[in-house]
C-alpha cells in the first residue's frame, strides 16, 4: 500500500500514524512534490521570470496590530498587476504579508494557512503566536535554494498574542530574512522595495499606544510615501478605485478593513498633501 491518496483500500498507512500535527511535515512524507522548496531548480540564476510583490508595512497600536500592503506587482520595469493582494489573514488571530517572488509567496501563504488550521483541528487548540512565527521561519528557510536563484520570498508576520502578559501590547510583529532568520520588531516595520521610505515615514508618524484610527492613518501614509519614491510600489489609485489592503487584528480577531474605510483615509492624506502647494 504505497498509494499516496485514499484509494481502494482507504487511508494509506501514513495517514493513520500518529506522528505529528504539522501539515507541512505530513506533506513532506506523503506528497513532497506539493511543497514549495522541494523542487529541483535550474543551476543558473533565473532572473525576472515572474512578478514581484513589493511593499508591506506592519505597526502595533494600543489594542493590537495593523498590516497594510500596496497593490502593485512588477516584472522588471513593467507593472504586471495593479490589484494584487499581498496581505492575508493567516488564521483568526494573525496576518501575513509577502514581498518577493509572487508565485512562490502566494503558494507559501496558502500552505501556511492550512498549516495553522491543520494544527488547530488536530490539537484542538490554536498554536501560540511564537509557534506560528517559528513555523513560518522554517518555511522560509526551506526556500533558501530558490532565493539564491533569485526567487526570494520575504514575509512579514503579525498577530494578536492571546497569552500576552498584563500591561504589554497584545499586538506583535515579526520580520524575516531570506535565510529564515526571525526577528521580533518593536513597534513597526516594513519589507519590500519601498520599505526604506515606508519606515522613514513611520519613524515620524508612529507613536506607541496609538488608537486604531490613528494607526491606520500611519500605515496608509507610509505606503503613500513609499509609492512616492519607489517605482515598484503603487499609491492609492483614485481612478480605478484601488486602495491598499489593510488588516487589523485585535481582541475580536483579524478583520480586513473595507475599501470605504481605507479610501477615506487615503483621500484625507491626498487632500492634505495637495493643500501643501505641491510640497507634500
Amino acid at each position: 500500500m504505497t498509494d499516496q491518496s485514499a484509494g481502494r483500500s482507504g487511508f494509506p498507512p501514513a495517514y493513520l500514524d500518529r506522528v505529528g500535527s504539522s501539515f507541512t511535515d505530513f506533506l513532506g512524507i506523503t506528497a513532497p512534490d506539493l511543497l514549495p522548496g522541494r523542487r529541483p531548480l535550474p543551476a543558473m540564476p533565473l532572473g525576472e521570470v515572474g512578478p514581484h510583490a513589493t511593499t508591506i508595512v506592519a505597526v502595533t497600536y494600543g489594542d493590537g496590530v495593523l498590516m497594510g500592503g500596496d497593490r502593485r506587482a512588477t516584472m522588471g520595469n513593467l507593472i504586471s498587476s495593479r490589484d494584487i493582494e499581498k496581505v492575508y489573514a493567516a488564521d483568526s488571530w494573525s496576518v501575513i504579508g509577502i514581498a518577493g517572488a509572487a508565485g512562490i509567496a502566494i503558494e507559501m501563504v496558502r500552505l501556511y494557512q492550512v498549516e495553522l488550521e491543520h494544527y488547530e483541528k488536530i490539537e484542538g487548540m490554536t498554536m501560540s503566536l511564537d509557534g506560528k512565527a517559528n513555523r513560518l521561519a522554517a518555511m522560509i528557510r526551506g526556500n533558501l535554494g530558490a532565493a539564491m536563484q533569485g526567487l526570494a520570498v520575504v514575509p512579514l508576520f503579525a498577530g494578536y498574542d492571546l497569552d500576552a502578559a498584563e500591561g504589554t501590547s497584545p499586538g506583535r510583529v515579526f520580520s524575516y530574512d531570506v535565510t529564515g532568520g526571525n526577528y521580533e520588531e518593536n513597534g513597526y516595520t516594513a519589507v519590500g522595495s519601498g520599505s526604506l521610505f515606508a519606515k522613514s515615514s513611520l519613524k515620524k508618524t508612529w507613536r506607541p499606544g496609538l488608537s486604531a484610527d490613528a494607526a491606520t492613518r500611519t500605515v496608509v501614509e507610509s505606503l503613500y510615501d513609499a509609492a512616492d519614491d519607489d517605482s515598484a510600489t503603487g499609491g492609492p489609485d483614485m481612478v480605478r478605485k484601488l486602495y491598499p489592503i489593510v488588516y487589523r487584528v485585535d481582541a475580536e480577531g483579524a478583520v480586513r478593513l473595507s475599501d470605504d474605510q481605507v479610501s477615506s483615509v487615503a483621500a484625507t492624506i491626498v487632500a492634505e498633501r495637495t493643500a501643501a502647494d505641491g510640497q507634500g
Partner: protein, 309 residues
C-alpha cells in the same frame, strides 16, 4: 498466522462482530441531530479534552464512539485527507462522501484482515446550503456506510436513544429545541440521571460535549458550544420550556461586543468575521486553562486510554 483448529469464515466474522459490538455498547451514546441551521452533535462525555466530536473541514464534522485511541487516529486521518485534498485541489472539492468512503474502506480492511476489529462507530456529517443538502453518514466497525436522514445515534444503548428521538424529533427544529430533544433522549438511558440511579434530573452541561455545524457561518461551520453558551441553552430548557424560542436563539447568537482579550466568542454572530477559529475553549473558561496545562502533551499520552466504561 496459522490457526490451530479450523474455524469457518462465517464463525470468525461473527465472533469479530460480536466482539466489536460489545465494545461499542459498553460506552456512552452520541447523538447527531439535524436542526434548521445545520447539524447538532451531542455526546455524553465527562472529559473536556478527550473529544468525541471534532471538526474535519469547513462544512464537515465528525463524531465517534468506542475506543478512544482508535477513533482518534481515524479522526486525524480524516483531517489529513481533507486538508491534503483541499490544498492540492480546492476547498470546495472536499466532500463528506470522500471522507466517509475512505473511512469505510479502512474499517472494512481492518475488519477482514486483522485479528481484532476496531471497536468504533463513526458519523461523518456534512452541512449543505439548505437542510435538504445536509448529509449524515454512519460508519460501523465492519466498514458499512449508511446515509441516514434526520439523526444518528451511536454507542451505548443506541436503540433506546433512537427510539426516544424517533418519537420527539421534528424536521426543522431550532437549535435550542433540537438540543432539548437530544439531551432528553440521552438522559433517558444515562446512568448519571436520577431515573437510572444517578444524581441529576437530566444530563448537566459538565457531562455533555456539544458542537454544531452552523450553515450560516461563512467558512468554517464547526463550533463547539461550551461554557456560558451551553449552560444558557440548557438552562432555558429547564427553567422555561414553554418560553418563546427567540429568547434561546438570542442567547446563542449573542456575541459580547467587547470580549476580554483572549476570549474568543462562543458561537458568535454568524454574519461576523470568522474569529472563533479553533480556539474552542470557550467563552466561559479562562484562557489560562489551555495554555499552561500542556494539553498537547497530555493528549499524546492519553491515546492509549480506553473509553470510559
Amino acid at each position: 498466522m496459522t490457526m490451530p483448529y479450523y474455524a469457518s469464515a462465517e464463525q470468525v466474522m461473527r465472533d469479530r462482530s460480536e466482539y466489536a459490538r460489545k465494545g461499542i455498547s459498553r460506552g456512552r451514546s452520541v447523538a447527531v441531530v439535524t436542526y434548521s441551521d445545520g447539524v447538532l452533535f451531542i455526546a455524553e462525555n465527562p472529559s473536556s479534552t478527550l473529544h468525541k466530536v471534532g471538526e474535519l473541514y469547513d462544512r464537515i464534522g465528525f463524531a465517534a464512539v468506542g475506543r478512544y485511541s482508535e477513533f482518534e487516529s481515524l479522526r486525524v486521518a480524516g483531517v489529513r485527507l481533507a486538508d491534503v485534498r483541499g490544498y492540492s485541489y480546492n476547498r470546495r472539492d472536499v466532500t463528506g462522501r470522500v471522507i466517509a468512503n475512505a473511512y469505510a474502506q479502512t474499517l472494512g480492511a481492518i475488519f477482514t484482515e486483522q485479528m481484532k476489529p476496531y471497536e468504533v462507530e463513526l458519523c461523518v456529517a456534512e452541512v449543505g446550503e439548505t437542510p435538504e443538502h445536509d448529509q449524515l453518514y454512519r460508519l460501523t466497525f465492519d466498514g458499512s456506510v449508511v446515509d441516514e436522514p434526520d439523526f444518528v445515534v451511536m454507542g451505548g444503548q443506541a436503540e433506546a436513544v433512537s427510539g426516544h428521538l424517533r418519537e420527539h424529533f421534528l424536521p426543522g427544529m431550532g437549535l435550542a429545541e433540537a438540543l432539548r430533544v437530544g439531551v432528553r433522549a440521552l438522559s433517558a438511558v444515562s446512568p448519571a440521571t436520577a431515573a437510572n440511579g444517578g444524581g441529576h434530573d437530566q444530563l448537566p452541561a459538565e457531562q455533555l460535549e456539544v458542537a454544531v455545524l452552523d450553515r450560516r457561518r461563512p467558512k468554517r461551520a464547526f463550533r463547539r458550544v461550551v461554557g456560558v453558551a451551553l449552560r444558557s441553552l440548557l438552562g432555558d430548557e429547564s427553567a422555561a420550556a414553554a418560553e418563546d424560542e427567540p429568547a434561546a436563539e438570542a442567547a446563542h447568537v449573542h456575541a459580547p461586543s467587547t470580549p476580554a482579550p483572549g476570549t474568543p466568542p462562543g458561537l458568535g454572530d454568524p454574519g461576523a468575521v470568522d474569529t472563533a477559529g479553533g480556539t474552542e475553549h470557550a467563552a466561559g473558561q479562562p484562557a489560562v486553562t489551555d495554555g499552561a496545562g500542556g494539553e498537547t502533551d497530555g493528549k499524546g499520552d492519553t491515546t492509549s486510554v480506553t473509553e470510559d466504561r
